[in-house]
């Protein structure tokens, strides 16, 4: 028998080694697991938040800082608070109901609401995607690379990454990419701003009553609290089948992402306020801002600003087609995901392609009214926010859908205040625009 033993197990060693180690191993794996739980959910909120600092966002913040200096920084404070509020709500709705926003709107508010909301979201997202690729084009052109090269190449690259790696794969890349936002902080510090005035601007709400000021305030709200970001965070929670147990982790993630968005926006405003505003210059977009920074704050500040612009655009361009495709296929009642193949989810991949291709085409076709499209998109995003936030509010207050996680009276009034502020902005914008 002992001969068998030797034959069967040439590596036989003194007793019990595996067993003795076990408790230590168990303890170590426990700690690893809790960190892993956090890392497992850490990311989507951060990405959803930070991708609100996309080229459209950076442009808006740059204009805000260049035109009004530190005065309108408080708008950013309000936007960030609203972002924290509604991103957490989106995550919570996704986790509790296990359904995407489009499907829920269809279920609760009926066919009309769902179709109109998703159609508007589709248009706004195509426009926003064009804005992202325009940002990529402008960013690379600052380094002398033609848009006819940079835009198609990044579009193919980003699509491949998203479609091939699945979101899990690209998520890591995106997180690394989002570190690029440090550039803005650096650019802000290099501009030597007046910190006292900046902090005063953050808290004290004053505002010139002109159409331009209202436009920029509304645009800031609309670009920070982008509709697609809200749809994205919810569908992410659904797709991962996160449950209420992961909610605390997800909330940390979402709030961190939202606050960082605000912080980065702050540094963009500050770097423009300290330089361009102080010199009385004016700009049209973020690339202008980067170029204008050069003589005032040095080549490094300009380069950092441009790199930040490209990184931000890549981040958002990765998420937008995906999020749109999810919303559209969710509307039909059969939400598709990246693990479905082309034949079983034609609408999903069709939407993905439509958003990407049209977005790229708008940037590359000579003579396409890009600026008009981008402005319209911003307005559409802001207007779309109203019904979308209202739907989310309705879902949050629905005891049948949310069960124990239904929004209490206090948080519900916070939602209403935020919705009211956005409504006031849009209404006064409409009034000031139509007034002769």
């Amino acid at each position: 028998m002992n001969e068998h033993q030797q034959i069967l197990d040439p590596t036989a060693s003194p007793a019990g080694d595996g067993v003795e180690n076990a408790p230590v191993q168990a303890r170590r794996s426990l700690r690893r697991i809790q960190i892993a739980t956090l890392l497992g959910v850490l990311g989507p909120g951060l990405i959803a938040g930070l991708s609100d600092d996309d080229p459209a966002g950076i442009t808006t913040y740059s204009v805000l800082g260049t035109k009004y200096g530190y005065q309108l920084l408080w708008v950013l404070t309000i936007s960030t608070a609203a972002l924290v509020l509604f991103q957490s709500l989106g995550a919570r709705i996704g986790v509790v109901t296990g359904q995407g926003l489009a499907g829920l709107i269809r279920q609760k508010f009926g066919a009309w609401s769902a179709v109109v909301a998703i159609l508007a979201l589709l248009l706004a997202n195509i426009g926003t995607t064009a804005a992202e690729f325009a940002g990529i084009a402008a960013g690379f052109e600052l380094f002398g690379i033609s848009r006819h090269f940079s835009v198609p190449v990044t579009a193919v690259l980003v699509s491949m990454l998203v479609l091939r790696g699945g979101f899990k794969g690209i998520e890591r890349i995106l997180l690394v990419l989002s570190a690029i936002f440090i550039c803005y902080v650096a650019a802000g510090v290099l501009a030597h701003p007046d910190w006292g005035a900046a902090f005063k601007g953050l808290i004290v709400p004053t505002m010139p009553v002109t159409r331009d000021a209202v436009v920029i305030a509304t645009a800031t709200l609309g670009t920070t609290l982008a509709p697609w970001g809200l749809a994205f965070i919810q569908s992410y929670a659904v797709d991962k089948r996160l449950t209420t147990k992961s909610l605390p982790y997800l909330r940390i993630d979402v709030i961190t992402g939202a606050l960082l968005t605000g912080v980065i926006g702050f540094f963009v405003v500050v770097s423009c306020a300290a330089t361009l505003h102080a010199k009385g210059l004016s700009i049209n977009d973020a690339a202008d801002a980067a170029a204008a920074l050069e003589p005032l704050a040095g080549t490094l500040a300009k380069d950092l600003f441009a790199i930040g612009l490209i990184g931000a655009a890549l981040l958002a361009a990765s998420i937008l087609p995906l999020s749109t495709a999810y919303s559209v296929s969710d509307l039909t009642g059969s939400p598709a995901a990246l693990d479905d193949d082309l034949r079983s989810a034609p609408l999903f991949y069709g939407t993905f392609a439509l958003v990407t291709v049209v977005g790229v085409a708008l940037v590359l076709i000579p003579g396409a009214p890009l600026v008009a499209i981008l402005v319209l998109t911003q307005v559409l995003n802001a207007v779309l926010l109203l019904p979308l936030l209202w739907f989310m509010y309705g879902i949050a207050r629905d005891r049948e859908l949310m069960g124990a996680y239904v929004a209490g009276r206090r948080i519900a009034s916070a939602y209403l205040v935020a919705i009211a502020i956005i409504a006031i902005c849009i209404l006064s914008l409409g009034y000031l625009s139509l007034r002769p």
Partner: protein, 425 residues
């Protein structure tokens, strides 16, 4: 074409009926249809029990017996007396517009989750029945059209309601309705896909419709991550019952990622013997032999007979699959690994000691890496592999399909979308 036309004209679209005028016997408009109330009795088709109509600011219930006729765009009442008390839902009742249309349903025959774009009623005998559910996107868009066109049934992709498992409206008792019989016919892998496609309350409802042992089978087909989340989402008692019924190696995969506190709570509810088994497996890290083995093995001693062996296999089969039998000596050390074929090849009275012999199987230790497991498994030319401890006592068995799973897990992230498997048809 004609068939479709005649079918379409004899069906009433529920979405088209909503908002239709309600007339009293003198053909005066008295209100509008708000919703259609059905009752799920024993039959496969739900029966319309009445309508909710809006009269002024009130929502009143009209019993179906008081309805003289339902036409495509109007409802005729047979009696002038209308109960003006507000509608209150009774047990077992559902509102088609509020609770069913645009909500998730289970198409049991097609094994998929659908959203109802419209429902169709048919007038059979003296009653109205829900006979079909329309799931096409076209029909969904039709509802955006003006009232006259909206009510025309466009039976594009209509499913027989007999194949539908609806879900309870939130707050309404769920277990009033029997689960669809077809659910039992679905393969665990299909049910797992369904669970993944459903919203959270619907998912919990489907899970509670399944008998615990089928539910456990379904969980074994899901990704460990999703099983972990699901276990955290159902009542503790149910989670424990599921864990106890799953194959130990699959259960451990899910338990592994649970937080320490949750795992302790859960295992406390699992029967002791099973909990001890799971705790043992949990001590092995993921991705090594101990992490993918099952501890359910059939053990024989050399002086037993083939008949004894067959009895043991039969007993074990009731709980889990048997792929082979380990033979041990007096000290509990592994001697040989017999396959089921070995049992068939020999007479029942033969002693196990006479059957064993070279070639002796290769084995692995619980801390062996996946590569080594694969190597030994191939070397054995069998469908499973025995795991032994430092004393060479058998402690578990690794089945080939678990090795395949483990290999796939380490590979899935790198695949192109068009290489991914579509739904198995």
């Amino acid at each position: 074409m004609l068939l479709r036309q005649s079918v379409n004209s004899s069906l009433f679209s529920v979405a088209g009926l909503i908002g239709a005028p309600v007339q009293d016997p003198q053909e005066r408009d008295i209100g509008r249809v708000v919703d259609v109330v059905v009752r799920w009795d024993r039959g496969v088709y739900p029966q319309v029990s009445g309508l909710i109509i809006r009269i002024g600011f009130r929502r009143s219930f009209v019993h179906v017996e008081d309805v003289a006729d339902i036409a495509r765009r109007s409802v005729q009442l047979g009696s002038t007396k209308v109960d003006l008390s507000d509608f209150e839902r009774r047990e077992g009742e559902q509102l088609l517009h509020k609770d069913v249309i645009d909500h998730q349903l289970l198409d049991v025959d097609g094994a998929r989750v659908v959203r109802a774009a419209d429902l169709y009623l048919a007038h059979v005998g003296s009653r109205y029945w829900v006979v079909g559910v329309d799931v096409s996107f076209v029909s969904f868009l039709r509802r955006l059209l003006p009232a006259g066109m909206r009510s025309r049934a466009t039976a594009e992709r209509v499913l027989d309601f007999a194949s539908i498992q609806p879900f309870g409206s939130p707050g309404a008792p769920v277990l009033l309705r029997r689960p669809h019989r077809g659910l039992q016919r679905l393969r665990p892998a299909d049910l797992a896909d369904l669970l993944e496609d459903l919203g959270r309350p619907e998912r919990r409802e489907l899970l509670s419709m399944l008998p615990p042992e089928s539910a456990a089978d379904v969980l074994e087909e899901m990704e460990p991550d999703h099983v972990r989340l699901l276990l955290g989402d159902v009542p503790l008692g149910q989670a424990a019952a599921l864990v106890a019924m799953m194959e130990p190696d699959e259960a451990v995969d899910a338990l592994r990622d649970l937080s320490a506190a949750d795992r302790t709570d859960l295992l406390a509810q699992v029967p002791d013997a099973r909990a001890a088994e799971l705790r043992t497996l949990l001590e092995f890290p993921e991705g090594v032999a101990g992490g993918i083995m099952t501890t359910r093995i059939v053990v024989l001693s050399t002086h037993e007979t083939i008949r004894d062996a067959l009895d043991k296999v039969r007993a074990q089969r009731r709980e889990s699959d048997v792929d082979g039998l380990v033979v041990i000596d007096e000290d509990g050390r592994l001697v040989d690994d017999l396959s089921l074929a070995d049992l068939i090849d020999n007479e029942p009275d033969t002693s196990v000691g006479d059957v064993i012999g070279p070639p002796y199987p290769g084995t692995v230790r619980p801390d062996a890496e996946l590569d080594e497991v694969v190597e030994q498994l191939i070397g054995n030319r069998g469908s499973s592999l025995v795991v032994v401890d430092g004393e060479h006592r058998p402690i578990g068995r690794i089945l080939a399909d678990d090795v395949v799973d483990a290999l796939l897990d380490s590979d899935t992230e790198r695949r192109w979308p068009w290489q991914l498997r579509g739904p198995v048809s």
